[in-house]
Symmetry: C2
Subunit: 396 residues, 2 copies
């Protein structure tokens, strides 16, 4: 499994942080050239151990291993092979290659199962290239119309749509969703991406559900002015306004135990001695309860309008555009129990922790359509979305 | 003069804001293709009215009109033709074309002067393309070594140096400075770029001197992390730290009547669900007294280190790199008096205001080497470094 994981990371390895061959992070953005290569490799490997490949209209790859009941819905293991621009070797990747390892083990031991099994590589889970996380699994779950997914634009080159990228990667298959390709259940092994398991000295997290979150594009329009000859009261500095929003959103989120974060910011025109007239930025708001997220977003939004008004004569206007939302997810009690039982049998009950997921996962999408459960393993120092992401092989 | 001004703006017109042909701003960055064209045009126009052209090693254009005393130093009128990326039609341009108008008037009336006159188009005044404002005049004044000016890098394409751009624009002449090409005096007509004249209903500002300022590149290094699964206390969010620095620098500057502004910010890696690990930004600090600027910069810098340390376990480090400084400028009493006398005679003493310049100008450089004075005219709504920059022709 360890060898397979690192082998698969030859496509997209980036951001070296140490001398060992595997001491790099990843930059394998959804459907880029490296993602196309690792997808082709995945299909070869899965087919070599008796799976047939189905690619759907949004590029989700399903590798299906027949069961005795040929026409029954397969029980799936799924996650994603795409990464953040400065991502690591474990986020998503571990879950998919672990599923491949299961397929190989069954094959090499000549084991048959009553029902079919599937391994799924969901498309554009990260939302890092096409700004909609869980896009592939959401199309399958019918919470995102295929057309809308297709028209998502590459964040770095808006002339490329997700559909263009599917064609380019030779990954545009025939549309199928949870109705035409139902899954009997979906299990996902994933790194925690946070510090909790490590801090509490646990080995396996049994995931009960996950945080709700909303994403926004926020555009702040002020007025360009000269940094030297414009007294503060005559300014409408879009970047000063954006900075205040970021600082206050953080404080407001802390007050209710939520998270508010800005990952992308762009200020124009971008000149040392011109106060920016326009800022575009993202805001990501999360909490375990959907209503807390909704309420907090409302309040940050209202506060941002007040901050835009500032103290002087000139005002910034703040426009909010919600680009994504994911309700709090609740996993299936039977799946949770199955995972907990095996976890306890493997590492002992004192190393197993029931917990919620901070990050969104494709399992949030599948949980709407089939019984779903997730298995978390520790992230060293709680680090994720970073090249130095690491999980001890002993913790898998 | 009005026609000449707008004629010269055909090269680099951009950012339309109204239906009239002249209702656009400018994007004529130093030594770009449009700047090369307007420079060639300037030379033709100046030569057509009896000037000879000297281009120095940093591309400053001197258009020299002989006087009766052929070997004496010329009395100069100078400003700049380069603009901000979202600049207007008046900043710098007005001063140069006004000087051309003077040359034309003298020529058409067949007037001779005792001493030579010069019109100067200083290179890269804005510092918008090559991040060092007043670069051309500083080379002339020997406060910036030619080699250092040559090695300045295009902010958008660091593979291009200022020297490359000089060659490309055919503007690499023979080095001459205040010693080999002395000026007897330097007068600059410029828009105020601020709201004071308009607010006080004045027509002409007699500039006594100008603010000191310093520019910094600030790099904040934290750690990329997942926006959903990383509690605040485990974050080292470089953008949150940058935002706090921007907000607090503003407050600290306000306290002492100074200005602190951020014009450029870049956050990496730039993904909605990854807290930025690195932010690079500029800070521009100004005050009429050089010692107040120096002290405030020290304090903002110290405060930024504290903000970097944050409240949690993980810290951001903040690295400051001073890229530019300009001491407070004091203009020549005789030049000031000459300007005041003519201003009062022209518009009456109640429409004339003694004032200081908020922005840096090439006259700051020349004031170190020859008697210098500046004439300010009002900026509508105090707007500058913005396409809608406007000055009533009646106010020239
Ligand atoms: N696990 C993960 O990084 N998912 C991406 C969606 C999110 O931002 O939570
Ligand atoms: N006048 C003007 O915009 N000068 C550029 C230098 C400065 O930033 O003050």
């Amino acid at each position: 499994l360890l060898d397979t994981l690192h082998h698969s990371c030859q496509w997209g390895a980036a951001h070296r942080y140490g001398p060992q061959p595997t001491q790099t992070g990843m930059a394998r953005l959804s459907l880029d050239a490296n993602d196309a290569k690792v997808r082709a490799w995945m299909a070869r490997e899965a087919e070599a151990v008796g799976c047939r490949t189905v690619v759907d209209g949004v590029g989700n790859q399903f590798f299906i291993r027949p069961g005795d009941r040929a026409d029954a819905a397969p029980t799936a293991m799924g996650s994603h092979m795409d990464t953040q621009p400065t991502g690591g070797r474990y986020d998503g990747i571990l879950g998919v290659v672990a599923g491949l390892e299961v397929m190989r083990t069954l094959h090499h031991r000549g084991l048959r199962t009553r029902y079919p099994l599937a391994l799924v590589n969901w498309t554009n889970e990260e939302g890092a290239r096409f700004p909609r996380s869980l896009a592939g699994s959401a199309v399958w779950a019918e919470t995102l119309p295929l057309d809308q997914a297709w028209s998502l634009k590459d964040v770095n080159d808006p002339s490329i749509t997700l559909r263009d990228a599917l064609v380019e990667a030779r990954m545009l298959g025939t549309h199928c969703d949870h109705r035409s390709l139902p899954l009997a259940a979906h299990f996902e092994l994933h790194i925690e991406q946070g510090p909790i398991l490590e801090q509490r000295d646990k080995r396996i997290g049994v995931v009960l559900g996950g945080q709700a979150y909303k994403w926004f594009d926020v555009e702040i329009s002020g007025m360009e002015c000269h940094t030297g000859s414009t007294p503060y009261e005559y300014r409408a500095d879009a970047l000063l306004c954006a900075s205040r929003i970021i600082v206050e959103a953080t404080l407001m989120a802390k007050e209710v135990g939520a998270l508010a974060s800005t990952g992308i910011i762009e200020a124009r025109p971008g000149s040392v001695n011109t106060c920016p007239g326009t800022v575009r930025m993202t805001i990501d708001v999360r909490h375990a309860r959907s209503d807390v997220v909704a309420d907090l977003c409302q309040r940050i939004r209202a506060r941002s309008a007040v901050l835009g008004r500032g103290t002087g004569d000139r005002h910034c206007t703040v426009r909010w555009d919600q680009t994504f939302e994911s309700d709090a997810a609740t996993f299936d009690p039977a799946c949770i129990e199955a995972i907990r039982d095996v976890a306890v049998a493997t590492v002992g009950s004192d190393r197993v922790l029931d917990m919620y997921s901070g990050a969104g996962h494709d399992s949030f999408s599948t949980s709407l359509r089939c019984p779903t459960g997730m298995i978390f393993v520790p992230s060293r120092d709680g680090i994720s979305h970073n090249p130095s992401e690491f999980t001890e092989p002993e913790h898998w």
